[in-house]
Protein backbone atom coordinates (compact mmCIF):
# COMPACT_ATOMS: atom_id res chain seq x y z
CA UNK A 1 0.00 0.00 0.00
CA UNK A 2 1.37 3.46 -0.91
CA UNK A 3 1.75 5.80 2.08
CA UNK A 4 0.03 9.21 2.12
CA UNK A 5 2.73 11.58 0.81
CA UNK A 6 0.87 14.89 0.99
CA UNK A 7 2.48 17.31 3.46
CA UNK A 8 1.22 20.51 5.05
CA UNK A 9 3.61 23.09 3.62
CA UNK A 10 2.28 25.82 5.95
CA UNK A 11 3.56 23.84 8.92
CA UNK A 12 7.10 24.37 7.60
CA UNK A 13 6.89 28.18 7.78
CA UNK A 14 7.98 28.55 11.45
CA UNK A 15 10.80 26.08 10.80
CA UNK A 16 11.83 28.09 7.74
CA UNK A 17 11.97 31.23 9.89
CA UNK A 18 14.24 29.37 12.34
CA UNK A 19 16.35 28.14 9.41
CA UNK A 20 16.62 31.71 8.13
CA UNK A 21 17.91 33.06 11.45
CA UNK A 22 20.34 30.18 11.93
CA UNK A 23 21.51 30.32 8.31
CA UNK A 24 22.28 34.00 8.81
CA UNK A 25 24.41 33.16 11.85
CA UNK A 26 26.80 30.95 9.85
CA UNK A 27 28.68 33.90 8.34
CA UNK A 28 26.71 37.15 8.20
CA UNK A 29 25.34 37.90 11.66
CA UNK A 30 26.27 37.38 14.52
CA UNK A 31 28.46 34.26 14.11
CA UNK A 32 27.66 33.30 17.71
CA UNK A 33 27.47 29.67 16.53
CA UNK A 34 23.77 29.26 17.25
CA UNK A 35 24.00 27.64 13.80
CA UNK A 36 26.11 24.73 15.06
CA UNK A 37 24.16 21.47 14.69
CA UNK A 38 24.08 20.71 18.41
CA UNK A 39 22.22 23.99 18.97
CA UNK A 40 20.25 24.33 15.73
CA UNK A 41 18.86 20.79 15.57
CA UNK A 42 17.93 20.91 19.26
CA UNK A 43 16.02 24.16 18.70
CA UNK A 44 14.20 22.63 15.73
CA UNK A 45 13.31 19.53 17.76
CA UNK A 46 12.13 21.73 20.65
CA UNK A 47 9.95 23.72 18.25
CA UNK A 48 8.18 20.48 17.32
CA UNK A 49 7.90 19.39 20.96
CA UNK A 50 10.77 16.85 20.90
CA UNK A 51 13.95 18.54 22.12
CA UNK A 52 15.59 15.20 23.01
CA UNK A 53 15.24 13.90 19.46
CA UNK A 54 16.54 17.24 18.19
CA UNK A 55 19.54 16.97 20.50
CA UNK A 56 20.33 13.43 19.33
CA UNK A 57 20.24 14.61 15.70
CA UNK A 58 22.35 17.64 16.63
CA UNK A 59 24.97 15.40 18.25
CA UNK A 60 25.11 13.14 15.17
CA UNK A 61 25.53 16.13 12.84
CA UNK A 62 28.05 17.81 15.16
CA UNK A 63 30.46 14.91 14.47
CA UNK A 64 30.32 15.79 10.76
CA UNK A 65 30.53 19.53 11.41
CA UNK A 66 33.82 19.05 13.30
CA UNK A 67 35.36 18.46 9.90
CA UNK A 68 34.39 21.74 8.25
CA UNK A 69 35.18 24.94 10.10
CA UNK A 70 34.37 28.28 8.41
CA UNK A 71 37.96 29.16 7.43
CA UNK A 72 38.09 32.45 5.49
CA UNK A 73 37.27 32.14 1.80
CA UNK A 74 37.09 28.33 1.83
CA UNK A 75 33.89 26.61 0.73
CA UNK A 76 32.11 24.81 3.51
CA UNK A 77 28.69 23.28 4.15
CA UNK A 78 25.99 25.46 5.67
CA UNK A 79 25.06 23.72 8.92
CA UNK A 80 22.48 26.19 10.30
CA UNK A 81 19.58 25.59 7.93
CA UNK A 82 20.66 21.98 7.36
CA UNK A 83 20.48 21.19 11.07
CA UNK A 84 16.95 22.62 11.26
CA UNK A 85 15.99 20.23 8.44
CA UNK A 86 17.68 17.23 10.10
CA UNK A 87 16.36 18.05 13.57
CA UNK A 88 12.80 18.55 12.29
CA UNK A 89 12.70 15.34 10.25
CA UNK A 90 14.04 13.30 13.18
CA UNK A 91 11.67 14.97 15.63
CA UNK A 92 8.69 14.15 13.38
CA UNK A 93 9.46 10.41 13.50
CA UNK A 94 8.38 8.30 16.52
CA UNK A 95 11.20 6.87 18.67
CA UNK A 96 12.51 3.50 17.57
CA UNK A 97 11.52 3.86 13.91
CA UNK A 98 14.18 2.08 11.80
CA UNK A 99 16.06 4.38 9.42
CA UNK A 100 14.72 7.57 11.02
CA UNK A 101 18.19 8.77 12.00
CA UNK A 102 19.85 7.63 8.76
CA UNK A 103 17.28 9.49 6.68
CA UNK A 104 17.39 12.65 8.77
CA UNK A 105 21.21 12.73 8.70
CA UNK A 106 21.28 12.14 4.94
CA UNK A 107 18.71 14.91 4.37
CA UNK A 108 20.71 17.30 6.55
CA UNK A 109 24.00 16.50 4.80
CA UNK A 110 22.48 17.06 1.35
CA UNK A 111 20.91 20.33 2.57
CA UNK A 112 24.26 21.40 4.03
CA UNK A 113 25.91 20.79 0.66
CA UNK A 114 23.25 22.74 -1.24
CA UNK A 115 23.43 25.43 1.44
CA UNK A 116 27.19 25.72 0.90
CA UNK A 117 26.61 26.20 -2.83
CA UNK A 118 23.95 28.82 -2.11
CA UNK A 119 26.47 30.73 0.02
CA UNK A 120 28.93 30.75 -2.87
CA UNK A 121 26.17 32.12 -5.12
CA UNK A 122 25.34 34.75 -2.49
CA UNK A 123 28.99 35.84 -2.30
CA UNK A 124 29.01 36.33 -6.08
CA UNK A 125 25.76 38.28 -5.87
CA UNK A 126 27.28 40.40 -3.08
CA UNK A 127 30.22 41.25 -5.36
CA UNK A 128 27.88 42.27 -8.20
CA UNK A 129 25.72 44.33 -5.85
CA UNK A 130 28.85 46.01 -4.43
CA UNK A 131 29.98 46.92 -7.96
CA UNK A 132 26.60 48.53 -8.61
CA UNK A 133 26.97 50.60 -5.45
CA UNK A 134 30.55 51.55 -6.34
CA UNK A 135 29.75 55.15 -7.26
CA UNK A 136 28.27 55.88 -3.83
CA UNK A 137 31.03 54.02 -2.03
CA UNK A 138 33.74 55.86 -3.98
CA UNK A 139 32.14 59.16 -2.90
CA UNK A 140 32.49 58.01 0.73
CA UNK A 141 28.74 57.80 1.26
CA UNK A 142 27.94 56.29 4.66
CA UNK A 143 24.47 55.39 3.42
CA UNK A 144 25.90 53.37 0.52
CA UNK A 145 28.18 51.38 2.85
CA UNK A 146 25.45 50.72 5.43
CA UNK A 147 22.84 49.96 2.75
CA UNK A 148 25.13 47.45 1.06
CA UNK A 149 25.85 45.70 4.36
CA UNK A 150 22.15 45.48 5.27
CA UNK A 151 21.23 44.24 1.77
CA UNK A 152 23.77 41.42 2.05
CA UNK A 153 22.43 40.33 5.42
CA UNK A 154 18.80 40.52 4.27
CA UNK A 155 19.45 38.33 1.22
CA UNK A 156 21.35 35.84 3.38
CA UNK A 157 18.37 35.70 5.75
CA UNK A 158 16.06 34.99 2.80
CA UNK A 159 18.50 32.39 1.46
CA UNK A 160 18.46 30.41 4.72
CA UNK A 161 14.68 30.53 5.01
CA UNK A 162 14.07 29.51 1.43
CA UNK A 163 16.61 26.69 1.63
CA UNK A 164 15.04 25.31 4.82
CA UNK A 165 11.52 25.49 3.38
CA UNK A 166 12.45 23.82 0.08
CA UNK A 167 14.51 21.12 1.78
CA UNK A 168 11.63 20.25 4.13
CA UNK A 169 9.19 20.25 1.21
CA UNK A 170 11.40 17.75 -0.65
CA UNK A 171 12.61 15.55 2.20
CA UNK A 172 9.43 15.20 4.27
CA UNK A 173 7.49 13.20 1.60
CA UNK A 174 10.68 11.24 0.92
CA UNK A 175 10.94 10.42 4.63
CA UNK A 176 7.37 9.10 4.68
CA UNK A 177 7.92 7.02 1.54
CA UNK A 178 11.24 5.53 2.65
CA UNK A 179 10.13 4.72 6.20
CA UNK A 180 7.22 2.72 4.77
CA UNK A 181 9.52 0.58 2.64
CA UNK A 182 12.74 0.36 4.71
CA UNK A 183 13.64 -3.26 5.43
CA UNK A 184 16.80 -3.25 7.58
CA UNK A 185 16.47 -3.49 11.38
CA UNK A 186 16.80 -0.28 13.43
CA UNK A 187 19.93 -1.57 15.19
CA UNK A 188 21.82 -1.80 11.89
CA UNK A 189 20.57 1.58 10.73
CA UNK A 190 21.76 3.29 13.92
CA UNK A 191 25.09 1.45 13.78
CA UNK A 192 25.75 2.64 10.21
CA UNK A 193 24.98 6.28 11.09
CA UNK A 194 27.04 6.28 14.28
CA UNK A 195 29.99 4.51 12.61
CA UNK A 196 30.02 6.99 9.74
CA UNK A 197 29.64 10.04 11.98
CA UNK A 198 32.24 8.87 14.51
CA UNK A 199 34.80 8.04 11.81
CA UNK A 200 34.39 11.53 10.31
CA UNK A 201 34.55 13.19 13.76
CA UNK A 202 37.64 11.26 14.86
CA UNK A 203 39.47 11.96 11.58
CA UNK A 204 38.53 15.65 11.88
CA UNK A 205 39.95 15.97 15.39
CA UNK A 206 43.10 14.20 14.26
CA UNK A 207 43.43 16.58 11.32
CA UNK A 208 42.90 19.70 13.44
CA UNK A 209 45.30 18.75 16.23
CA UNK A 210 47.94 16.53 14.54
CA UNK A 211 50.34 19.41 13.77
CA UNK A 212 50.60 20.35 17.47
CA UNK A 213 53.43 18.58 19.34
CA UNK A 214 52.05 16.12 21.89
CA UNK A 215 48.41 16.49 20.80
CA UNK A 216 48.16 12.90 19.53
CA UNK A 217 49.05 11.63 23.02
CA UNK A 218 46.37 13.82 24.54
CA UNK A 219 43.91 12.40 22.01
CA UNK A 220 44.98 8.83 22.83
CA UNK A 221 44.64 9.53 26.56
CA UNK A 222 41.23 11.08 26.05
CA UNK A 223 40.05 8.13 23.96
CA UNK A 224 41.15 5.66 26.66
CA UNK A 225 39.28 7.64 29.28
CA UNK A 226 36.29 8.00 26.96
CA UNK A 227 36.05 4.28 26.28
CA UNK A 228 36.32 3.54 30.01
CA UNK A 229 33.58 6.06 30.72
CA UNK A 230 31.38 4.76 27.88
CA UNK A 231 31.83 1.20 29.19
CA UNK A 232 30.78 2.34 32.66
CA UNK A 233 27.77 4.24 31.33
CA UNK A 234 26.70 1.40 29.02
Amino acid sequence: MMPELAVDLLAFVPLAVLGAVLGLDVVSFPQAMISRPIVAATLAGAMLGHPLRGLAMGAALEFFALESMPFGASRYPEWGSASVVGGSLFALTPDGTPAAMALAVLSALVTAQVGGLSMVALRRWNAQWARRQQAGIARGSGNAVVGLQLAGMSVDLLRGGLLTFLALAVFEPLRIAVLATFTFPGTLSRAVVVSTASAVGLAAIWKVTASTPGARWWLAGGLLLGFALAGGLG
Binding site: S28, Q31, A32, M33, R36, I38, T42, G54, A56, A59, F63, L66, M69, P70, F71, G72, G96, L106, R123, R124, A127, A130, R131, A138, R139, G140, S141, V145, Q149, G152, M153, D156, T181, F182, T187, L188, A191, V192, S195, T196, A197, S198, A199, V200, L202, A203, A204, I205, T209, S211, T212, P213, A215, L219, A220, G222, L223, G226, A230, L233
Partner: protein
Protein backbone atom coordinates in the same frame (compact mmCIF):
# COMPACT_ATOMS: atom_id res chain seq x y z
CA UNK B 1 43.37 66.13 16.12
CA UNK B 2 44.61 63.58 18.64
CA UNK B 3 42.21 61.76 20.90
CA UNK B 4 42.34 58.88 23.32
CA UNK B 5 38.66 58.95 24.15
CA UNK B 6 35.96 57.06 22.32
CA UNK B 7 32.45 57.56 23.77
CA UNK B 8 30.84 54.45 25.23
CA UNK B 9 27.84 54.68 22.88
CA UNK B 10 30.21 54.80 19.89
CA UNK B 11 32.09 51.72 21.14
CA UNK B 12 28.79 49.89 21.71
CA UNK B 13 27.61 50.77 18.18
CA UNK B 14 30.92 49.58 16.72
CA UNK B 15 30.74 46.31 18.67
CA UNK B 16 27.18 45.68 17.49
CA UNK B 17 28.16 46.41 13.88
CA UNK B 18 31.18 44.11 14.17
CA UNK B 19 28.78 41.20 14.71
CA UNK B 20 27.71 41.81 11.10
CA UNK B 21 31.16 42.57 9.72
CA UNK B 22 30.84 39.76 7.14
CA UNK B 23 27.30 40.74 6.14
CA UNK B 24 28.28 41.40 2.53
CA UNK B 25 31.36 39.16 2.32
CA UNK B 26 32.34 38.54 -1.30
CA UNK B 27 35.25 37.24 -3.37
CA UNK B 28 36.36 40.72 -4.49
CA UNK B 29 36.53 43.02 -1.45
CA UNK B 30 36.04 40.19 1.07
CA UNK B 31 35.05 41.91 4.35
CA UNK B 32 36.18 45.38 3.18
CA UNK B 33 32.75 46.96 3.26
CA UNK B 34 32.22 45.45 6.72
CA UNK B 35 35.30 47.24 8.06
CA UNK B 36 33.93 50.61 6.92
CA UNK B 37 30.49 49.62 8.27
CA UNK B 38 31.96 48.85 11.72
CA UNK B 39 34.17 51.97 11.80
CA UNK B 40 31.44 54.34 10.66
CA UNK B 41 30.21 55.37 14.16
CA UNK B 42 33.79 56.41 15.07
CA UNK B 43 34.36 58.22 11.76
CA UNK B 44 31.39 60.50 12.53
CA UNK B 45 33.67 62.07 15.15
CA UNK B 46 36.07 63.34 12.45
CA UNK B 47 36.19 67.11 11.81
CA UNK B 48 33.18 68.07 9.71
CA UNK B 49 31.13 65.20 11.14
CA UNK B 50 29.07 62.78 9.07
CA UNK B 51 29.35 63.74 5.44
CA UNK B 52 32.41 65.96 5.94
CA UNK B 53 35.47 65.64 3.69
CA UNK B 54 37.50 63.69 6.26
CA UNK B 55 34.58 61.32 6.88
CA UNK B 56 34.08 60.70 3.15
CA UNK B 57 37.76 60.14 2.48
CA UNK B 58 38.00 57.66 5.36
CA UNK B 59 34.84 55.78 4.32
CA UNK B 60 36.20 55.40 0.79
CA UNK B 61 39.58 54.21 2.11
CA UNK B 62 38.13 51.56 4.41
CA UNK B 63 35.48 50.07 2.14
CA UNK B 64 38.16 48.58 -0.15
CA UNK B 65 39.62 45.07 0.01
CA UNK B 66 40.29 43.72 3.51
CA UNK B 67 40.30 40.22 4.88
CA UNK B 68 40.96 38.88 8.37
CA UNK B 69 39.44 36.56 10.90
CA UNK B 70 36.02 38.11 11.65
CA UNK B 71 36.56 38.24 15.42
CA UNK B 72 40.14 39.54 15.31
CA UNK B 73 39.12 42.13 12.71
CA UNK B 74 38.04 44.06 15.82
CA UNK B 75 41.73 44.83 16.39
CA UNK B 76 41.96 46.40 12.93
CA UNK B 77 38.69 48.30 13.40
CA UNK B 78 39.97 49.78 16.68
CA UNK B 79 43.43 50.54 15.30
CA UNK B 80 42.20 52.13 12.07
CA UNK B 81 39.58 54.22 13.87
CA UNK B 82 42.26 55.53 16.22
CA UNK B 83 44.56 56.31 13.30
CA UNK B 84 41.84 58.21 11.45
CA UNK B 85 40.85 60.24 14.50
CA UNK B 86 44.52 60.96 15.28
CA UNK B 87 44.97 62.29 11.75
CA UNK B 88 47.61 59.74 10.70
CA UNK B 89 48.61 60.27 7.02
CA UNK B 90 46.60 58.25 4.50
CA UNK B 91 49.72 56.52 3.07
CA UNK B 92 50.58 55.12 6.50
CA UNK B 93 47.02 53.88 6.98
CA UNK B 94 47.09 52.23 3.54
CA UNK B 95 50.35 50.43 4.40
CA UNK B 96 48.77 49.15 7.60
CA UNK B 97 45.71 47.94 5.69
CA UNK B 98 47.96 45.91 3.39
CA UNK B 99 50.06 44.42 6.21
CA UNK B 100 47.42 43.65 8.86
CA UNK B 101 45.16 41.01 7.21
CA UNK B 102 47.74 38.18 7.11
CA UNK B 103 48.53 38.01 10.84
CA UNK B 104 44.93 38.77 11.87
CA UNK B 105 43.69 35.93 9.66
CA UNK B 106 46.20 33.26 10.61
CA UNK B 107 46.15 33.95 14.37
CA UNK B 108 42.35 34.03 14.43
CA UNK B 109 41.98 30.86 12.38
CA UNK B 110 44.31 28.89 14.65
CA UNK B 111 42.86 30.31 17.84
CA UNK B 112 39.15 30.06 17.03
CA UNK B 113 38.37 27.77 14.10
CA UNK B 114 41.06 25.20 14.93
CA UNK B 115 40.98 25.66 18.70
CA UNK B 116 38.16 27.25 20.60
CA UNK B 117 35.24 26.12 18.39
CA UNK B 118 36.15 22.40 18.24
CA UNK B 119 36.91 22.47 21.98
CA UNK B 120 33.47 23.89 22.83
CA UNK B 121 31.86 21.51 20.35
CA UNK B 122 33.58 18.53 22.03
CA UNK B 123 32.48 19.81 25.45
CA UNK B 124 28.86 19.92 24.26
CA UNK B 125 29.15 16.39 22.81
CA UNK B 126 30.52 15.21 26.14
CA UNK B 127 27.57 16.85 27.90
CA UNK B 128 25.19 15.03 25.56
CA UNK B 129 26.96 11.71 26.14
CA UNK B 130 26.80 12.16 29.91
CA UNK B 131 23.03 12.64 29.70
CA UNK B 132 22.65 16.39 30.26
CA UNK B 133 19.26 17.82 29.29
CA UNK B 134 18.88 19.48 25.86
CA UNK B 135 18.74 22.96 27.43
CA UNK B 136 21.90 22.27 29.48
CA UNK B 137 23.85 21.04 26.43
CA UNK B 138 22.81 24.05 24.36
CA UNK B 139 23.67 26.47 27.18
CA UNK B 140 26.98 24.71 27.88
CA UNK B 141 27.99 25.20 24.25
CA UNK B 142 26.65 28.72 23.72
CA UNK B 143 27.92 30.18 27.00
CA UNK B 144 31.39 28.64 26.79
CA UNK B 145 31.84 29.51 23.11
CA UNK B 146 30.56 33.06 23.35
CA UNK B 147 32.60 33.94 26.43
CA UNK B 148 35.58 33.50 24.11
CA UNK B 149 33.88 34.99 21.05
CA UNK B 150 32.49 38.18 22.58
CA UNK B 151 35.51 38.53 24.87
CA UNK B 152 37.84 38.49 21.87
CA UNK B 153 35.82 41.10 19.98
CA UNK B 154 35.64 43.43 23.01
CA UNK B 155 39.35 42.98 23.78
CA UNK B 156 40.22 43.47 20.10
CA UNK B 157 38.40 46.79 19.83
CA UNK B 158 39.93 48.08 23.10
CA UNK B 159 43.45 46.89 22.26
CA UNK B 160 43.27 48.18 18.70
CA UNK B 161 42.06 51.57 19.88
CA UNK B 162 44.75 51.72 22.59
CA UNK B 163 47.65 50.70 20.32
CA UNK B 164 46.57 52.34 17.06
CA UNK B 165 48.82 51.36 14.16
CA UNK B 166 51.30 49.78 16.63
CA UNK B 167 48.80 46.93 16.83
CA UNK B 168 51.62 44.34 16.54
CA UNK B 169 52.10 44.82 20.32
CA UNK B 170 48.57 43.56 20.87
CA UNK B 171 49.21 40.56 18.60
CA UNK B 172 52.09 39.65 20.91
CA UNK B 173 49.57 38.94 23.68
CA UNK B 174 50.47 35.55 25.28
CA UNK B 175 46.95 34.21 24.69
CA UNK B 176 47.24 34.84 20.95
CA UNK B 177 50.85 33.64 20.76
CA UNK B 178 50.77 30.57 23.00
CA UNK B 179 47.04 29.84 23.12
CA UNK B 180 46.62 27.79 19.91
CA UNK B 181 48.88 24.82 20.86
CA UNK B 182 47.37 24.62 24.35
CA UNK B 183 43.88 24.76 22.86
CA UNK B 184 44.78 22.03 20.34
CA UNK B 185 45.93 19.71 23.15
CA UNK B 186 42.82 20.47 25.22
CA UNK B 187 40.63 19.85 22.16
CA UNK B 188 42.36 16.54 21.47
CA UNK B 189 41.86 15.40 25.07
CA UNK B 190 38.23 16.51 25.49
CA UNK B 191 37.24 15.24 22.02
CA UNK B 192 38.98 11.94 22.84
CA UNK B 193 36.69 11.53 25.84
CA UNK B 194 33.60 12.94 24.13
CA UNK B 195 33.61 10.88 20.92
CA UNK B 196 33.15 7.39 22.48
CA UNK B 197 30.77 8.69 25.18
CA UNK B 198 28.55 10.58 22.71
CA UNK B 199 28.69 7.75 20.15
CA UNK B 200 27.58 5.28 22.81
CA UNK B 201 24.61 7.51 23.73
CA UNK B 202 23.68 7.89 20.05
CA UNK B 203 23.95 4.19 19.34
CA UNK B 204 20.96 3.33 21.53
CA UNK B 205 19.68 -0.11 20.59
CA UNK B 206 22.48 -0.39 18.04
CA UNK B 207 24.85 -1.24 20.94
CA UNK B 208 24.44 -4.94 20.12
CA UNK B 209 26.63 -4.21 17.08
CA UNK B 210 29.33 -2.41 19.09
CA UNK B 211 32.21 -4.58 17.79
CA UNK B 212 31.32 -3.83 14.18
CA UNK B 213 30.91 -0.13 14.94
CA UNK B 214 34.36 0.09 16.55
CA UNK B 215 35.94 -1.67 13.58
CA UNK B 216 34.11 0.58 11.09
CA UNK B 217 35.09 3.74 12.99
CA UNK B 218 38.75 2.71 13.16
CA UNK B 219 38.95 1.77 9.47
CA UNK B 220 36.91 4.81 8.40
CA UNK B 221 38.94 7.28 10.46
CA UNK B 222 42.25 5.81 9.22
CA UNK B 223 41.05 5.99 5.64
CA UNK B 224 39.92 9.60 6.01
CA UNK B 225 43.20 10.73 7.61
CA UNK B 226 45.14 8.98 4.81
CA UNK B 227 42.94 10.65 2.19
CA UNK B 228 43.09 14.05 3.91
CA UNK B 229 42.82 16.82 1.32
CA UNK B 230 41.42 14.50 -1.37
CA UNK B 231 38.01 13.71 0.13
CA UNK B 232 35.87 15.23 2.82
CA UNK B 233 34.28 12.76 5.20
CA UNK B 234 30.89 14.45 5.29
CA UNK B 235 30.64 14.26 1.49
CA UNK B 236 31.57 10.57 1.50
CA UNK B 237 28.94 10.02 4.20
CA UNK B 238 26.26 11.22 1.79
CA UNK B 239 27.12 8.36 -0.59
CA UNK B 240 27.43 5.77 2.21
CA UNK B 241 24.03 6.65 3.68
CA UNK B 242 22.31 7.00 0.31
CA UNK B 243 23.53 3.57 -0.84
CA UNK B 244 22.55 2.02 2.50
CA UNK B 245 19.01 3.43 2.39
CA UNK B 246 18.52 2.69 -1.29
CA UNK B 247 19.67 -0.90 -0.86
CA UNK B 248 17.33 -1.40 2.06
CA UNK B 249 14.38 -0.09 0.05
CA UNK B 250 14.96 -2.02 -3.20
CA UNK B 251 16.30 -5.36 -1.93
Amino acid sequence: MSTSYLPLTTRAAMLLRMLGIQGVWNYETMMGNGIAFAMEPALRLLPGGRGGDAYRAAMTRHSGYFNAHPYLAALAVGALSRAELDGVPAEQIERFRVAAPGPLGSVGDRLIWAGWLPLCSALALLGYGLGLSPASVVLLFLVSYNVGHVGLRVWGLQAGWREGLRMAHALGNPVLRNGPPHLARATAFVAGIALPVAAQALLGEGRVLLGGVLLAVTVGALLLTRLAGKFEGWRLAIYVLAVFILYSVVR
